[in-house]
Amino acid sequence: MEDQRPDPDALLRRVKEEESRQARGKLKIFFGATAGVGKTYAMLEAAHEQQADGVDVVVGWVETHGRAETEALLQGLEILPARTVDYRGTTLREFDLDAALARRPHLILMDELAHTNAPGLRHAKRWQDVQELLGAGINVYTTINVQHLESLNDVVAQITGIVMRETVPDSVLEQADDVELVDLPPDDLLQRLKDGKIYLPEQAKQAIQNFFRKGNLIALREMALRRTADRVDEQMQVYRRDHAVARTWPAAECIMVCVNLKPRGARLVRAARRMAAGLHAKWIAVYVQTSRHLRLPEAERERVSQTLRLAEQLGAETVTLSGDNVSQELLNYARVRNVTKIIAGKPLRARWKEWVFGSVVADLVRNSGEIDIYVITGEAGEGRPLASGVLRRTSTWWAYGQGALTVAGCSLVAWLMFPFFGAANLIMVYLLGVTVVATRYGRGPSVVASVLSVAAFDFFFIPPYFSFAVSDVQYLLTFAVMLLVALVISGLTVRIRQQAEAARQRERRASVLYAMSRDLATHRLLANLTREATRHLRDVFESQVAVLLPDPGGRLILQPGEQVSFTFDHRDQGVAQWAFDHNQMAGLGTETLPGAGALYLPLVGLQGPVGVLAVRPAQPQRLLAPEQMHLLETFANQIALVIERARLAEEAQRAQVQAETERMRNALLSAVSHDLRTPLTAITGAASSLLDHPDALPPASRQELLQAIYEEANRLDRLVKNLLDITRLEAGAVHLHKEWHPLDEVVGAALTRVEGRLRGHPVRTQFPPHLPMVPLDGVLIQQVVINLLENALKYTPPDTPIDLSASATADAIVFEIADRGPGLPPGDEQRIFDKFYRAGPAREGGVGLGLTICRGIVEAHGGRIWAEDRPGGGAVFRFTLPLEGSQPSIEPEQAEPQTAV
């Protein structure tokens, strides 16, 4: 028995989808065949029901078309005021997205999903507004007609003869949580139309003639019903998947559509999308960039990238391959990706051309092996209109002139050679000329030069001279061969030239990318990275470039130093922020806020968006050329990864610092709890003994206990003082009161303070009699000396000597304290100054702060403290105090003694 439980991965995926859908608002679509079936009416009725249930409903946009029944239904619903947009002298009323986001209703009504917004608004299309509303967690009711669906666009155009400009990606319909079909039989619809319930009477008449023909209505109705049925079918499938009903799991289909230069690319893409949807397959749109591609007019290249963008919008993965053997590249890639079906356009070329130049489709069919090839008809003239006026001639008239001039030059040379050489050699001169023209000026001029060469050869060197007439018919063959050879040479030369140029472009792209990666690899700080990246991009794209990174609040900010190189106002800020928040390109050349002067690309790392790349080109047309865009996107990916890497590194470092701080805190806590408790335990114990048995204790024991209490209390006092000192030092709360002091006086004061604790250590001092005074904070330096003395007392055996001395160098006083103890722990000469460091068991436990305090104070004075092993055993601690400024002057005193005799 085969286990029929659902596949856990598939279930998990479903759960995730549902979760992300829960955060989003819910989308309900009222779906109809045509206008007038009552979608808006149905939507408003549903809205009233919701409102009656206590839901917060707002009408974002409703088009009543003056229909009385519909208008009546608007009563009692809150209507969001429209915003007005001035466009070429007329005032347009549009849906106010920001007001809706600010209002945040639970449910918003958005009529006519396919509507195109007025230029200047944030999104080009209303469905994008709806996406943003959903993203903000607002539920949306909306309406759409079947003919507005992107993938059905062609079919509708075929049936009705009307091309819909306003389309909505199919994915919007698919993502809808609920689709309600609003259906009306064609006859009823026509009746309603005649009654003037849909359009005003004069409009109605026109509409019946054009669009609302019964045949159209039936076809559209069928499409709407079919689409809805598909959706129901899909839901059924999902249900079966969830409940493990499916016995067989369809093998993963993968469809690849070959985008070519023909205008019907869009149609191919839509067909592929339909097929992919039907098969529940993923699909890839592929374009093969040949060396010819670079010679194409910009408009054609733009059409390719538009087609690819359309495919992306329809949910395809898009890939651009490069290579000159198109069918081979396509098949290789298809095999790599396990493609099962390839969709290609039907060749439209004349048959002889196919014989001469070969056919991609034929090659595909022949070599595809196990892959199915679908060949689909195209329809010329369909697709988006080409941008006019950007067609670039491959060669200018100037190049043609140069070609003609070259032929003239060849003729001159041949004329000089004519008396000495035969005609065959003269032909060589012309062929050389053609080759030169082909290399330098391209195909057109070289073809012209070939023809001109033959003509000139005939004119000048074939009898009768200076006439195009030919005396000997044999020469006609000579001309024919000469022309053919010239054309072949020019063709080959041009091709080599194109390949070289393509290679150069690729190399340039690779090298600029490499240059940037190399430079970025040497930087670690985020600020440097962004600066380097923008510098490279500025050079490569000849644009103003800036990298915008989010501040902790998620608001994008210009990196410091870039304010000069990038003009950025609050409007740009809005576009950039949108691009960042929605993880989509925005601004110039895109569908979102295309009116902006700059293009904003989200920088998406592996873990999500890290910032936005802003590019303000000097010449927008050049930047928006597809290969430039691809290059820019490649750059953006690189930069995003690098920034993300830097971010992660910074985060890791911060985490490490935090861990270190945590460790310190723990060390402090354990030190404090241990070192404070030990004396407290001793004190409590001794005091309680004295309290409980005041008379039972012999006097010696009592004395000992009292002594213990006293000493432990002193120790506790010193610990507390050290903790306070280090806290103050670290908080930067220590201010130096520097005054001129003789160092020996400070040392003397310190000795006085510790003299009760010397335990028989002989202290020897050696200070030169004329040691200069040094500016220092007496109290703090005294603390340093005390701590060093206590450290020596702590680690050296009793009765060993402690030597204190000082000397002066040119710019500092060096103080030295040397003991005869065990010396420094090997390798820890520096660590002993670290916080909470303790070298082995000290006789008198401390928190390990004394030396840290010393270092803090000495360094605050601009001095240095270090420790070494002392020759002959023991340790030496030294610190320096800089001698800055001039010694204070003292008025000399008259030498007479005080004795008044």
Binding site: E745, V746, F767, P888, Q898, T899
Partner: protein
């Protein structure tokens, strides 16, 4: 240092009245158990206002004043007491408050002890302060001051160390005699400068340090570890008498 509590004759301070102005009950309890044992008659005030009232009403022989009172600044109490009274005031301060100590001393406090303090340290300070105050009132003034092997003949202006005469300059001598006059008591830089150099030089404490160093070189066996001329860093100097 062994906490051998000085066992002096309780009768020595039989009629000496002490006013303790201190808000911390622990410290009041500690002094309540020790001072009467030493023969002092102790009065306690918990607030500054109460302290001022009691000082006026009881006119104590000595005041122990905590500087950190909740209601009145300790410095303010010193100022107000000094408006009418000359009894010694010893301030009890926390550590690292050199500036506060100096201010209190310059305002007229006689000495300070730093918390935490041992009782014999406090008793020693009190004895010194009381001795100076009784001498001031009776003005007997001895002509020869002796401390260990140091002997200063104030009448003849001669200084001997282990019976060997030491020659001092005018300023050194003046400095020494000032310290002798207030022996055992801390003197701030300001007070010493004013006494020795005059009121115009009160800010030039490096003068003081230079002469103090000369004086130590002449009078101390080990100037870097002085026995008599003790530095209270950040505050001033003291001629140590015990």
């Amino acid at each position: 240092m062994r906490p051998a509590i000085a066992r002096e004759s309780a009768m020595a301070h039989h009629d000496t009245t002490v006013l303790l102005i201190e808000d911390e009950p622990e410290i009041r309890r500690f002094l309540r158990t020790t001072l009467p044992q030493q023969g002092y008659q102790l009065f306690e005030a918990v607030t500054g206002q109460d302290g001022l009232a009691q000082a006026a009403a009881r006119n104590p022989d000595i005041i122990l004043l905590d500087l950190g009172l909740p209601d009145l600044d300790g410095q303010e109490i010193i100022r107000r007491v000094r408006e009418w009274g000359a009894m010694p005031i010893i301030v009890l301060t926390a550590r690292d408050q050199e500036q506060v100590k100096i201010e209190a001393l310059d305002l007229g406090a006689d000495d300070y002890v730093t918390k935490p303090f041992g009782v014999n340290e406090l008793l020693a300070r009190m004895r010194v302060a009381l001795r100076h105050s009784t001498r001031a009132s009776t003005e007997t003034g001895e002509s020869v001051f002796t401390l260990g092997d140091l002997r200063v003949d104030l009448l003849r202006r001669q200084v001997f160390l282990s019976e060997k005469e030491i020659h001092l300059t005018q300023i050194e001598y003046k400095l020494l005699t000032t310290l002798v006059r207030y022996s055992g008591k801390v003197l701030t830089h300001r007070q010493l400068l004013k006494e020795v150099w005059g009121p115009l030089h009160v800010e030039e404490s490096h003068y003081l340090r230079v002469y103090m160093r000369q004086l130590r070189n002449k009078l101390e066996h080990n100037p870097a570890h002085p026995r008599y001329l003790v530095t209270e860093l950040g505050v001033g100097y003291r001629l140590r008498t015990e």
